[in-house]
Symmetry: C2
Subunit: 288 residues, 2 copies
């Protein structure tokens, strides 16, 4: 077993390597070191749900099997999204700001029950989010890849838009000025998928101009979010550091997912969570 | 129809008054002006769920019917409590504080699903809270008046304690040093009932000494919460200004509840939401 911390050390380690575990899912090291891969490499596993940094031509065109950590993040992310929805509906940020000033400032708040939400992402994370928002009585529409064409019909009446799709050629930049223009100005956007689902300058402009009521963003085009990003201080915007799915003990859970698949690999059994490399996500059931 | 803004003007208006609508549910004006009541008064309605300011001996011993606004606040308060639970489990206050510093600070968070919560308050508000927390997969125990004796058994394994009981002789000061000592130090307390359910100095001491992990308080012994209260700045404490049930349009809903009951009164039909004056809350079904 060898460890690699960056592209050069990975390129050094790859020749003769049969199994590659990718722990830092935001690193481009695998793509950058791919030239060093030889016929030994059979399987790449990533300790993440998203595989967007691994769907580069070299890996896609190879015979290497790609698996992800499907399942670990579903329910935690659904809880996180629900928490963001209620926190914004009840103006918890305003409450905490008033508390910091020792100010007793009563406000009327919005209901959650019955409100219309569009969840984009037909995978297990999107489904978990849709299920939990539905459990508290929201009016949920889940939009997977096949339903993208429905968005122009769905967005004008959406009070919430949740992005939880994998980052693929079909979803990159899907929330741009054109899509935002379909939403009512009272709508709020939550992104827990990948930063590149959103054209950030378009979102910033819409928020600055009051064409959207707010946003809660856990993922960004560049992470960590640069200190000079206008998103940090825009009114109605919650910025969190890519943590929506990360429960106490999540690293141990990710290790367990890999350990389980490694046992299958060694025993010659079918692996779990095999990514359809043409689609960019797992299409079969199973997963943990 | 006459309006009264304080005890003296109410005392002036009461003689000959048949129906009294109490709009400010935290006012003691009714008690203070009760000496001016004559045989004309038949019915007192309060634009609140709690009737604790109206269960004084003069009104209790009279034949005057007391009704409340049961139903308006149930679901909104349940949403609010769920939002507080998730916000604290996911450390949303820490996220907002880091955001204010433009600081990218990843943290691991707690799950909500499967966590044990004790909800105190067997009325419609407590039931709505228990139902919603159960809908997101929490392990909920609802404790009404009859189950108070179970608390010593339930609290040691509670991760959350939600107070949503009416304020009566049986519940006043129920969360004191003795009750707090039964909770594990990792527990958090949420109070959306009445401030006097809690012995505030005992709660403050427990939070300061790390014998509780946190609290979210929407109601207080004195409201507005005095600027010099230590609660404003205690770590792990969320202070909100008695707003948990107040949706946009809540005043109109309260007027509607009264209007409906007034129509019944005029028609000689039974009123809705009649308070059992010996218990201090509505015991029959119905309500809006």
């Amino acid at each position: 077993m060898r460890f690699a911390r960056d592209a050069p050390s990975l390129a050094e380690a790859l020749p003769g390597t049969e199994v590659l575990l990718v722990w830092d899912f935001l690193s481009d090291a695998v793509r950058e070191a791919w030239h060093a891969v030889d016929d030994s490499l059979k399987w790449v596993h990533t300790a993440s749900a998203g595989v967007d940094r691994l769907t580069f031509p070299g890996l896609l065109e190879s015979d290497v099997t790609l698996t992800n950590s499907r399942g670990v993040f579903d329910r935690p992310m659904a809880e996180y999204v629900l928490g963001l929805v209620i926190a914004m509906a009840k103006d918890l940020p305003g409450t905490l700001a008033a508390q910091a000033r020792r100010e007793w400032r009563h406000r009327e708040t919005e209901p959650v029950t019955g409100r219309r939400v569009v969840v984009v992402g037909g995978g297990p994370i999107g489904r978990a989010i849709a299920e939990l928002l539905g459990a508290v009585g929201m009016d949920v529409t889940l939009v997977g890849r096949r339903e993208f064409g429905d968005l122009p019909r769905l967005l004008p009446s959406a009070e919430w838009l949740v992005l939880a799709a994998p980052l693929t050629d079909a979803t990159r930049g899907m929330l741009d000025a054109e899509t935002i223009a379909l939403l009512p100005p009272t709508a709020r956007v939550i992104n827990v998928g990948r930063g590149a689902l959103v054209v950030e300058p378009d979102l910033v402009a819409a928020l600055q101009e009051g064409r959207l009521a707010g946003a809660a963003l856990d993922v960004f085009a560049t992470e960590p979010l640069p200190a000079d990003s206008p998103l940090w201080t825009l009114p109605g915007v919650i910025v969190s550091p890519h943590m929506s799915g990360d429960l106490i003990g999540w690293r141990e859970q990710l290790v367990e997912v890999f350990r389980d698949n490694l046992a299958r690999y060694v025993a010659g059994e079918p692996l779990r969570n095999v990514v359809d490399k043409t689609l960019g996500y797992v299409t079969t059931g199973g997963g943990t």
